[in-house]
Symmetry: C2
Subunit: 150 residues, 2 copies
DNA sequence: TCATGATATTTGTAAATGCAAATATTATGG
DNA sequence: CCATAATATTTGCATTTACAAATATCATGA
């Protein structure tokens, strides 16, 4: 049978797409993009990440991310630094301008979180977050298995 | 504060991206794409949808969708038909070949649903679905408000 | 130490995407 | 009935994206 609105990947995509769409439109007014925000948010969580880590934390494919970083660097939002202990690794750093932009986006991000979970109780929100983390872990386990098989 | 993994849009995107990624890779072996599957799944739910409805149900931007439909039409998976009561409207129909492809993707889709919700109880799964529908409705309400303001 | 393989990132290139404009058709008010 | 506005879809075009290949650096074992 499988009606569409009982299919988790569909529900997930649908909700995510709507939030991303609305949020993107809004921060366009701040002269930036959703992808750039994902990078800034990840680096706010922890600065000094390497490109591959950032790719993981933002869900941006690594070669795409490389070019997103080009753009952000040109805008002076981030800086690339070559790791001194391993010359292959590039680490990313938020500049003061990047921090200022982050601070302007943050209230918007917080507002969209509130809009998204509007009408959910605190316990429902906590459950939602827990289940979403579990979904991610489930998919991640699958990835691990596939890589191990190679 | 806002740590990233406590932020609903982030958790949503992250889980959705992982599922989409794994599923895409898999159905590539069937000679098709995630976007095409979204169209087929939506039309399986209800055939005869117009382009704008399909855009809504698949979360594919309408001009992008128009070209996805071009490709699927060339592959003989769907047919376009002009509505006889309104010449502006184009409705979409799955062909027998499209149905055969759908039948081959369906078991894969069902498997990914199972993988995603692995470890969740039936009641947790039901809760997850309910909360995701609510999130979508919340964002949709926002859209409605914005359009009404114009 | 040197050759070979592994890892991290970037770049080449073709395809996908999305905004805005164009096109086609229908609805509405005078 | 006609002009104008509204609606549905497609197309022009610049940007973004992703796969594969290239590049740069490091690790390993003979």
């Amino acid at each position: 049978m499988l009606p569409l609105d009982d299919y988790v990947p569909y529900l997930l995509n649908r909700a995510g797409a709507r939030i991303a769409q609305a949020f993107s439109e809004e921060i366009r007014g701040l002269g930036t993009t959703l992808q750039a925000w994902r990078v800034l948010a990840a680096l706010r969580d922890r600065d000094n990440q390497r490109v591959s880590e950032l790719s993981d934390h933002t869900s941006i494919e690594i070669s795409t991310l490389s070019r997103v970083l080009d753009g952000m660097q040109k805008q002076g939002l981030i800086a690339r630094r070559r790791a001194d202990d391993d010359g292959r690794v590039v680490t990313l750093h938020v500049t003061p301008a990047g921090r200022r932009l982050t601070d302007r986006i943050l209230p918007v991000a917080e507002r969209y979180e509130r809009i998204a979970i509007n009408g959910l109780s605190a316990s429902e929100t906590a459950t939602l977050k827990r289940l979403l983390r579990r979904l991610y872990a489930n998919m991640d386990a699958l990835n691990g298995k596939r890589e191990a098989a190679e």
